[in-house]
Assembly symmetry: C2
Homo-oligomer: 374 residues x 2
């Protein structure tokens, strides 16, 4: 696949500006690329056992070839590593590797490793440099862009963390070849989300080229580049998530409730699957409120089903929650502003907007109808 | 003591600018003062059991009187709370109290509580607002100013944390009346430090007015105001400690080594005492290197002894370390830049400077001589 060329998305955040480089074989070239942006810096690589097996050797070799002092920390795979204990493990390992403020924490992995390593980079010695090498599709198109890092609390996901921008993101599309199909598909829900938020043309392109995206090659690079650029643009407009960065949560108020109610059990539901159901719900809810056409809601659902993603609450294995439970789980969500429910709704494909103070009764009625259908 | 008027030190940090208010009875007025800078915000008060006994009631009453929703977390007193477990306890309590991003974490206590609560404020929901109500002299003149927050790692003190500026600091000099004499004295070492760094006139004033500072009243307010202003000026010049903020570490390269070698056992040595010995060492070392006069070194030692502070390594109870052990403990210090020893030395009282690449042999010889003396 050497015909695939690197593309670069620049994220213009003033003195925190950085590049997202997207291409094939970037892990094998990471040493030289890192040395170019941070000459002389040492690297603490944070990864998980799955990713280590597939890609850590290549990364370490490339760092060594570039003359970069490096040490690696291998965490347990899975969301449970995004914990206080995980933070302690990674911080202590980075400090124990005698990394100083100018040195670099490198996250090699999916969103779990990116969030955890990024948070460690934010707090070790009150801030080290940070490089992301995302290896899941979700991490390449979403979590590695934007500087949100963190861990989970007993009270909920991502409640403890920091905004900490990387100095470089290397999205090696080849790394995705070792990713489980289910994880790739889940990440695709986030790709589709960018089209649904504000880029109807991209959603149309996905409807035509999704096979190419799943296959790898130039279509995959194009989808990742478009997604990164969309997220980067929103991050630049609203770095600290005080305004319209919230559009990125399209489908997520629902999704977070589904994840909470399935106790973040990845065997039942992974994040991207929850997002797929959430996106479909957001459009059906918008249609129910008369905001968008039933045709658009159907088109969203149709595409997600075509690529094999779930779109109905009933699609969630072992589902047993009612509307009240879903509403409760939604209201707990940290995106709730002083009691008023905020949703991202849509007037059509690519026409999402922030709807504040949505009436809980309308939501309950919608959910009842959803759960009644079989 | 109602004749003591409030004074305000403004810290002009652009969009992170804030006021340090210094006076008597501020805890009783905290509710109104907080409501004035952050109308409508709820408060999570973080304190320790000692401070809670003496001052939490008054603070809670004042918050209630101002109509501020508030909840309190009481930590165990002592450095051990500046840990990952302490961070988890405080973050989860703050989240559990349903505090949102615009709400406030209030640190009511000494430097331990300020550092811990400030770090929690920096990371809960990726950043909440933060108010400092320092209740130890050290916290009022040093740790509450400058935005450095954090916890300790197994590898050393303050290695994990964040820069997070408060929106308001209330230094109630009356709170110091319940502080143990030994703790007050220890904090005084940091007050003297500001004179020694770059304000010979202030050091001279302290030599004359130290009794008034210990007694309370206007001299205490003056000393705290002068100290806060000195630290604030340095913080404004160098918020992220990349340059001459390092002058604030006068005496601290030595002090940190002494603390490490006494295993941070406060029964033997509290931080300010270590700083007193460190300040005296920094001046004697400067004299030994021919940088400053022996007379100035004697003057520093004389004043510290007058107020009852230790000035000799041999003053540290149960001391058994040799020069090699001290050097080792110094070299481990995070302020070491890629192997070269950096000291803050002085050409005289009020004439400190950053000395980089100090030769370890000169340090060893100095320490040998220090330890030989009896
Ligand atoms: N920071 C943000 O802005 C942001 C945005 C969205 C999601 N997230 C977070 O991201 C996390 C989810 O990320 P994720 O879906 O990547 O989960 P993940 O990191 O757990 O990765 C999913 C699984 O794939 C494995 N894996 C990853 N890359 C692989 C590869 N190339 N080859 C083989 N196996 C591989 C992992 O070991 C894991 O088992 C969640 O914690 C979520 O909160 C963060
Ligand atoms: N952030 C910074 O810039 C900075 C600067 C210097 C020191 N520090 C940190 O500050 C800490 C030391 O601070 P400290 O000396 O205040 O220690 P501390 O917070 O442990 O307080 C000392 C003791 O006095 C008690 N106490 C505090 N105020 C009291 C009061 N008004 N009445 C009765 N008892 C009271 C405490 O319970 C404790 O037992 C260290 O952890 C150090 O690393 C931070
Ligand atoms: Zn998502
Ligand atoms: Zn100090």
């Amino acid at each position: 696949m050497s015909e695939v060329e690197d593309v670069v998305v620049h994220v213009p955040l003033g003195d925190r500006a950085y590049d997202i480089q997207i291409g094939r074989g970037l892990i094998g070239r990471a040493g030289a690329l890192i040395a170019a942006v941070a000459p002389g810096a040492a690297c603490a690589v944070v990864t998980d056992a799955n990713v280590a097996k597939a890609h850590l050797g290549a990364l370490e070799q490339s760092l060594a070839a570039a003359g970069i002092r490096h040490e690696s920390v291998v965490c347990a795979p899975g969301e449970a590593s995004k914990s206080y204990a995980g933070l302690q493990e990674v911080c202590d390992a980075v400090i124990g590797a005698r990394m100083e403020r100018g040195d670099i924490v490198v996250a090699l992995g999916g969103g779990v490793i990116g969030d955890l390593a990024g948070f460690a980079a934010a707090v070790v010695r009150r801030g080290m440099r940070f490089v992301q090498i995302p290896t899941s599709l979700l991490a390449q198109v979403d979590s590695s862009v934007g500087g949100k890092t963190g861990i989970n609390s007993a009270h909920g996901k991502n409640l403890v963390g920091a905004f900490h921008q990387p100095i470089l993101v290397l999205a090696d599309v080849g790394a995705l070849d070792t990713l489980a199909e289910r994880e790739f598909r889940a990440g695709y829900a986030e790709v589709a989300k960018y089209g649904l938020i504000d880029d109807a043309a991209f959603f149309g392109w996905l409807e035509e080229h999704h096979r190419g995206v799943f296959a790898g090659g130039p279509d995959r690079v194009h989808a990742i580049r478009t997604s990164c650029a969309a997220k980067a643009a929103m991050v630049v407009r609203d770095e600290k998530e005080e305004g319209d960065r919230a559009l990125l949560n399209l489908g997520h108020t629902f999704a977070h409730a589904f994840e909470r109610l399935t106790r973040y059990d990845g065997a039942r539901l992974v994040h991207g699957e929850a997002v797929a159901v959430g996106l479909a719900c957001a459009f059906r809810f918008s249609a129910a409120l008369g905001l968008c056409s039933g045709q658009d809601a159907g088109r969203v659902e149709g595409h997600l089903r075509t690529v094999g993603l779930p779109t109905r609450i009933r699609d969630i294995p072992g589902w047993d929650g009612g509307a009240a439970a879903i509403l409760d789980a939604m209201f707990q969500d940290k995106k709730v502003q002083r009691g008023a429910l905020t949703f991202i709704l849509a007037r059509g494909v690519g026409q999402s907007f922030i709807a504040r103070g949505v009436d809980a009764d309308r939501v309950r009625a919608f959910l009842d109808a959803e759960l009644d259908r079989t």
